[in-house]
């Protein structure tokens, strides 16, 4: 029997201003009916290009230069729109990352589902609408009838992805390609979306290609996993073999760099443990937050009655799902926004009394610094790396001498592992990891004692994340910095923080030492969060 989809030695190249880029350099795989194939790899490895090539959705600049793509035995390598349009949606469908952007923002979702139904079936508007309702119920959207007329911006990210799934399966295709379907969603939402997806796949015995950067997700839901690197498939194996005994050097590195339930920061990069400096937990608190509350407009409080303390040199993790208030708390600590009620004491000063708009010229500004999530977005595009690092030195420390600035900036850059020759580059000339280093260098340049990190590695590939986490950990141990570490990735928080606070809807659910909290969660909510993390079992002694 012919497999549902076969991809044979496919090459794809893109014509760009800087010449021809070979995005795929000979990729082969096959997917059968009822089978789930995972494609994992880091950004630029060609995972998404593979999916788009199969769907024949490559943009104008990209084309398949050689190889064969067969769908149900039929060669579709060079098929035109007239062949593909009836297939897309009806026989092969695709769902995307960032579901909210993938839906038409000004069209009710019921109409969007009906559009797909009517594109492939000769049915009336009314029939399409009632089928759309059934589909919304099938993807377990509550109050489906009212939701038919909702717009994407009125739904949560998880709901949008369910709508997207409903659209993709509306015409019962036999192949579904899911390109990072749960990236950016909370772990619990990820779990429900993935379970819904696999349930539908099994029930209709469809073929699924799951593209993801998350090895744990692939391990949990796929029967076979293909690892891609720089346009090549380097390895393909069932998950237990792949993670148990990875063959290819790249796979080994990828597996090692992925945070798991037991990994430590130094394991990720395969370096010996840095000299461990015990945080001075018994010393006087650096930060005291009590009864902190923040209300935006008329809605329910984003942060309600949160209190905690942070010792000098301690690292505290704030975890929770989106909307739990973790970013709001971090912004109030940094005095970027004002609290509604409550106090924040930093050493001897009650910084909650200083209005957020005045804090930038307060002497304490230099001691509390921030590292942002998206290093690319948070760097001024017109500033070179040197300018970005020198800016706080100039403004907060009042250094005006150019040589002195240069010396200090390269000093800080060196500590952050940023090579000297990169200092004159602009953000767009730097890689993601290098930008993250600039962001960190900028934050530690004025010599802070408290660093607030808001999802500092969320936008990075796992191998880069590993290096950056290692860097942050080393900096903390060297300089005795205290961290407030905000993240949705529980494994990262466990590795980076001595203590963890779990937040839900603006309230603290659980608080305790990271080791204990992750080993034996005391509340159901924390337990559910932990259970939702997909993970893979790794055989010890890879290195």
């Amino acid at each position: 029997m012919t497999p549902l989809l076969t991809v044979e030695d496919v090459h794809v190249s893109f014509t760009t201003r800087h010449g021809v880029v070979n995005a795929l350099r000979g990729v082969s795989f096959a997917v059968d009916q009822g089978e789930t194939l995972g494609i994992v790899g880091e950004s630029g490895s060609g995972k998404s290009v593979t999916a788009l090539a199969v769907m024949r959705l490559l943009d104008r600049a990209g084309r398949v230069t050689s190889g064969r793509i067969r769908f149900r035995g039929e060669d579709i390598t060079a098929a035109g729109r007239s062949v593909m349009q009836p297939l897309r949606g009806a026989a092969m469908s695709m769902i995307f990352q960032n579901p909210r952007a993938a839906l038409n923002p000004i069209r009710p979702i019921g109409d969007q589902i009906a559009d797909v139904l009517r594109a492939h079936n000769d049915i009336s508007r009314r029939q399409a609408s009632s089928q759309a309702l059934e589909l919304l119920e099938a993807v377990r959207i509550r109050d489906a009838r009212e939701r038919l007329s909702a717009y994407p911006h009125e739904l949560s990210g998880g709901m949008c992805q369910r709508v997207m799934i409903a659209m993709a399966i509306a015409c019962e295709p036999s192949l579904l390609i899911a390109d990072e379907p749960t990236t950016g969603l909370d772990v619990t939402t990820q779990q429900t979306v993935m379970e819904l997806l696999t349930d539908i796949i099994h029930r209709r015995s469809m073929g699924l290609i799951l593209i993801t950067h998350d090895l744990g997700l692939a391990a949990r839901y796929c029967q076979r996993i293909a690892v891609m690197e720089q346009g090549l498939k380097v390895e393909e194996a069932p998950p237990e073999n792949l993670f148990g005994a990875p063959q290819h050097a790249y796979t080994k590195r990828l597996v090692a760099a992925s945070p798991t339930k037991h990994s430590r920061v130094q394991d990720l990069v395969g370096e010996p443990a840095p000299p461990s400096v015990e945080p001075k937990l018994d010393s006087r608190p650096l930060l005291q937050v009590s009864s902190l509350k923040k209300v935006f407009g008329q809605s329910a409080p984003a942060v309600a009655d949160v209190s905690f303390t942070l010792s000098e040199g301690e690292s505290l993790g704030l975890v929770g799902e989106s909307g739990s208030g973790k970013s709001t708390i971090s912004r109030m600590i940094c005095r970027l926004i004002d609290q509604t009620e409550g106090t924040i004491r930093y050493e001897e000063t009650s910084i909650s009394d200083i209005a957020s708009r005045d804090f930038h010229c307060h002497p304490l500004r230099r001691t509390i610094q921030l590292v942002f999530q998206d290093a690319g977005e948070s760097l001024n595009p017109r500033f070179s790396a040197f300018d970005s690092i020198a800016d706080p030195l100039r403004n907060l420390l009042g250094i005006t001498d150019n040589q002195e600035l240069r010396r200090r900036a390269s000093d800080v850059a060196e500590r952050c592992g940023l090579p000297h020759e990169l200092l004159d580059r602009f953000p767009h000339q730097l890689s993601g990891g290098q930008r993250a280093r600039v962001g960190i260098a900028r934050a530690i340049a004025p010599g802070p004692r408290l660093l607030v990190l808001d999802e500092p590695t969320a936008a990075l590939d796992v191998s880069v994340q590993a290096v950056i986490l290692h860097l942050l950990d080393r900096l903390r141990r060297e300089t005795g910095l205290a961290f407030v570490f905000v993240s949705h990735d529980l494994n990262v928080v466990r590795m980076m923080c001595e203590r963890t606070i779990v937040l839900q809807a603006g309230k603290i659910v659980e608080e305790g030492s990271s080791e204990e909290l992750f080993r034996e969660p005391k509340t159901e909510y924390t337990a559910a969060l932990l259970a939702a993390i997909p993970h893979f079992e790794q055989r010890h002694g890879i290195f």
Binding site: Q85, F96, Y151, A170
Partner: protein, 343 residues
């Protein structure tokens, strides 16, 4: 859906908040007219030999002998009572003059905008779907021509070609052939009035007078509309939801028109408002070339004669229309984009 009550409340608030700006416009125009060189009294005196006494008499009639603050207060008082003064040129109250001439300008502007849109949207879409193709370059050339040829040149060219050479257009004088029967005045818009009266001969006469000036103006504003449509379409066609539409097998037509164009139209609506206001005020050259009895040519004549009242009235009218157009654009935008909240 957006309810009617909050929409009305929002519109009311917007109108109220525009009052200070309108007030500023009134004061500014008043002062500007006073510092412009030229004495209206001299201009409107019986002749070049008019004596000093006659000029003084006219000054007194016009209230120009009073100190400027007092003139301003009187002027504001009059505006508050709905009076904009009397035009020295026509001898009519400015309100009457404007009310007679505004429909002519509006009819011309609306027709031109409709023409421009019906041309700009398809051109913009085609150019965006095939960027850097021959079609795209042709559209760009047409837009450039439209912008850089002044309206009085294109207007005269149209007259030369269609009236003088081909003889298919009527003589370019006014809104309707003087020998044709005027339809009863209901809305002031000749096309609508004659259609209401069922007088299709008059409708045709009015339409054939209208088409050349409307084309002239449409050509001038084609560029901003078509370029905006193209840019906006280009951006929208690369967004994720277009890819979704393609990935789920929607027809090209549906992807382009329903998913692409409707989203791309949002910024075009904003531009449309600006274009409309510009056309209404800046079409003085077109009105002059085609002897169109509109408000802009009326204001220009008054300005040349240092006739204060009509110019001030015209500026106030334009400011008011600008406020209304912006409000309409806002409301349209709110209806077209469900993401815009009511507040």
């Amino acid at each position: 859906m957006v309810g009617v009550a909050p929409l009305a409340r929002r519109a009311g608030r917007r109108l109220l908040s525009s009052l200070p700006a309108l007030f500023g416009v009134v004061i500014f125009t008043f002062l500007l007219m006073r510092v412009l060189p030229g004495d209206p009294a001299v201009f409107f005196a019986s002749g070049p030999n008019a004596g000093q006494a006659e000029i003084e008499e006219i000054r007194r009639q016009m209230g120009l002998d009073k100190p400027i603050p007092e003139q301003l207060v009187r002027y504001l008082w009059d505006i508050g009572h709905g009076k904009l003064g009397r035009s020295m040129g026509t001898g009519q109250p400015v309100v009457t003059d404007l009310a007679n001439r505004l429909p002519a300008s509006l009819e011309l502007t609306f027709t031109a905008l409709l023409l421009a849109l019906s041309l700009a949207l398809p051109l913009g879409i085609i150019a965006a779907l095939r960027p850097n193709s021959a079609v795209d370059h042709a559209v760009r050339l047409l837009c450039t021509l439209g912008v850089c040829v002044p309206t009085f040149v294109s207007g005269l060219l149209f007259i030369y070609a269609f009236y003088y050479l081909l003889g298919i257009a009527p003589d370019p004088t006014g809104r309707i052939d003087i020998f044709a029967s005027q339809p009863p005045n209901v809305t002031g818009f000749l096309l609508i009035d004659s259609a209401l009266a069922g007088d299709w001969e008059a409708w045709w006469a009015a339409a054939s007078q209208l088409i050349l000036p409307a084309c002239t103006m449409a050509l001038f504003v084609l560029a901003p509309l078509a370029r905006m449509t193209r840019a906006s379409m280009l951006a929208v066609m690369t967004s994720d939801f277009i890819r979704t539409g393609d990935a789920l097998g929607l027809s090209r037509r549906r992807v382009v028109l329903v998913y692409g164009l409707r989203n791309a139209l949002l910024p075009v609506i904003t531009i449309m408002g600006i274009v409309f206001s510009t056309m209404l005020g800046a079409n003085v050259l077109v009105e002059k070339v085609f002897s169109w009895p509109g408000v802009a040519s009326y204001a220009l004549d008054a300005l040349l004669a240092s006739d204060y009242a009509p110019v001030q009235g015209f500026v106030l009218l334009m400011a008011g229309i600008f406020v209304l157009v912006n409000l309409t654009v806002d409301i349209l935008y709110g209806l077209a984009d469900p993401r815009i909240s009511i507040e």
